[in-house]
Symmetry: C2
Subunit: 446 residues, 2 copies
């Protein structure tokens, strides 16, 4: 049974013997906290808190960035929504989506103050591993069909991570993932609405509930990867894939690794953004000096960038035209430009000067992640000169990662309180030796 | 926009002007209460209650058959699981699944004590209509692929019913159904486990949450039936179907109508069960007098009856061999024979005498529901005589329905307390003139 082999592999996982793996997990948690805090004062998390307080319940978990205790299901929903709200959380190229938002939202909700920090880190690594391997098995069919991978693969990965965290038997690991798989949902048609981040909260919540139901004594079919009527048969076309093969030979949280975003927009726009920032810093062109802009991608390299002429900043998260124009004209790529308010009409006129091109004749760099991706920005000035910049590995991507200082800076900006940010960083670095309660203490004491 | 037309149609629905429709809704509620009470003392509802009490929360809704108040989400989950637990709840041939378990579980959870009974009945009719029309649009592809229709179509139908109950605008009806559609889930690979009825509770819960989130101010993509990346494109292949066409010309709760089960097993076995009961009553054969049994279906007429040699009574719900043998040898088709305990070995030996046949040469009756379905039981005695009975419209199916006295009897057996059963029946018949609180009063006063 494919599911049985996978559950056995998860059960016997011991990823932290590798120091690089441990460091990657620590960085992932810091970035997750940064993305969560950055969204802390938005209106949707406040609305969810209001609904949680109205619903009530016996607190077992806490909300990231808040000091109130709520039920596990409520915490998972809130933590997931908040982490993904600004599209500022990490990305993984095997997943074709956002692993940490859903896995850590679920793990923080499912854990207790006395949960071992070491086990928590390992569970996170295991969750990313599950999600990346399911991504490999199911893409591109699954994503292309219209599924929101972050949610559909995330619920299974998060369920497996919780089952590992709680040291369930292989049989119950399989049953927990099976119960999560039968709740896998989330349609890409919701992209551009708040339902996209809500999907992440729903997936985290369904993972937590699956783990709780199985622990309480409900039983699911343990072989959800069966070829007949199983998860792969319904959700993709590659039904004979063995997800557990070579488990533990390397860990996908390190290789290829997580991508930590610098900017709050779709990672497919990161190459072009870096190119435009470079051109602005080098040439300091005024808006009037620019006659035309052409942006070149490999075939399909811009598939996720669905808005050419966005109406709102929220749609602008998926518009290479808007992002390149902001950067070229010296605007900082900060949150205020990517909110759900209309884009000023001056930008809309400027965007008319911009064209896109998919060019199959350009050889991609072998270092590029995602594989084969590049973006070239060509600016034609009024004097007829063409200024050009090509990016293969944008800042933040695994081959050009944020260093420790840059990650610290990301967290600091998000938290807005240096002392608290330093405490969160220290707690994460020490988590290996302590328990999950350290985070809750930081929230309660400040 | 297809979704907009559907939402407008739902918004303007006024089904109760037709007395037949009102009577059908009343019968559906009585049958739902019967199926729910029948499962009341099983272990899984008790386990869910235990988890609900541990989770806590501010009560707004109540559990069918209990006097405690819980959150809307908790009530929806419990009500859905309980109603479908014994596979004793109604069936609809357009749905290819169980409409009332999910729609009424959600509506009872979403309503308040002062909710108009008239509006509640109408919302139930609207929900069945949505579910049947989605069933027509998506089957057989959707069911064959491996989806559990009752859950995947049910969540959308229940969400639409709640939005109608609460008099949401057409725009918010569309957004509520869209938010439900992006949570549609449930795999048939879980059939034969408690996850099958749990799916119903999850679907009802997701419907309630969708309606609450939209009311609170979250927004989804209102056009979830868009041809590009929309619900039909991802979940079926018939993406151009117009669900709203001729809305209200007739109501599917009446035509073809609901099927109320006599017995706690898959409705696909009901024809054979009735035939076997007839043969037993007419000939009173002893077990020793039977040499062989052959059961004939139209092609694929036995597709749902996946166990030929069931190991447990729970699997026996999907075994025509087990059910026919029970009936022919004079065993009553009662709950004790369909529990999750092993079937006595004496039955297993007897089952060896039974064969199945799919016979395309037999002309189905035009009255048959589902269309084209029949079952013929042929018994060969030790003296070589062949005794035969054919059933096209089993008792309980829309063309041979339970009459009022039989439905009352079903509820009475389930409730086990004649006074209380009569109060529930009277409350349902009077619901049109009162509010939903009448049910809660009955629970609290007894």
């Amino acid at each position: 049974m494919k599911t049985e082999r996978l559950a056995e592999a998860i059960y016997h996982s011991n990823p932290l013997v590798n120091t690089e793996v441990k460091e990657a997990a620590i960085a992932g948690i810091i970035d997750f906290i940064a993305a969560s805090y950055q969204a802390k004062n938005e209106k949707e998390p406040a609305l969810i808190v209001e609904m949680i307080l109205e619903e009530g319940g016996n607190g077992k978990s806490w909300l990231i960035g808040k000091s109130i205790q709520v039920t596990r299901a409520q915490a998972a929903l809130f933590n997931g929504l908040q982490a993904h709200l600004l599209d500022y959380d990490d990305v993984h190229s095997d997943v074709r989506g956002h692993p940490s938002a859903v896995i850590l939202a679920a793990l923080f909700a499912a854990g207790d103050p006395d949960t071992s920090g070491e086990r928590f880190l390992a569970a996170y690594v295991v969750g990313v591993e599950i999600m990346a391997r399911f991504g490999e098995a199911m893409n591109p069919y699954h994503y292309t069909k219209g599924w929101h991978n972050t949610a559909t693969l995330g619920v299974i990965a998060a369920a497996g991570a919780i089952a590992y965290l709680r040291e369930y038997s292989p049989r119950l690991i399989a049953e927990t993932m099976s119960l999560a798989a039968t709740q896998a949902c989330g349609l890409r048609i919701q992209f551009g609405t708040v339902v996209k981040p809500l999907h992440v909260g729903i997936a985290a919540q369904n993972a937590v509930k699956s783990a709780d139901w199985i622990r309480a004594g409900l039983h699911s079919n343990p072989d959800f990867l069966n070829e007949k009527l199983g998860f792969f048969e319904v959700y993709t076309e590659n039904i004979v894939y063995d997800v557990a093969v070579n488990w533990g030979d390397s860990w996908r949280i390190v290789k290829p690794g997580l991508w930590f975003k610098q900017y709050p927009f779709c990672s497919a726009a990161a190459h072009g953004a870096d190119a435009a920032v470079f051109l602005h810093e080098k040439y300091k062109l005024s808006e009037e000096a620019i006659q035309a802009i052409n942006i070149r991608f490999p075939p399909n390299g811009d598939a996720a960038l669905i808005y050419k002429n966005p109406a709102t900043g929220e749609e602008g998260r998926f518009s290479i035209e808007y992002i390149v124009w902001l950067a070229l004209t010296g605007k900082p790529l900060t949150f205020s430009f990517f909110e759900s308010k209309p884009i000023p009409s001056v930008w809309r006129e400027s965007v008319q000067k911009i064209t896109r091109e998919n060019d199959a004749s350009i050889k991609p760099s072998e270092a590029a992640i995602p594989a084969g991706r590049f973006t070239i920005v060509d600016v034609t000035t009024n004097s007829g000169e063409v200024l050009s910049k090509r990016i293969d590995t944008p800042k933040g991507s695994p081959r050009n990662p944020l260093n420790k200082a840059e990650l610290r800076e990301k967290l600091l900006r998000a938290v807005g309180d240096e002392a608290k940010a330093e405490m969160l960083i220290a707690a994460t670095h020490n988590l290996y030796r302590t328990t999950l309660g350290v985070f809750q203490e930081i929230e309660q004491n400040i």
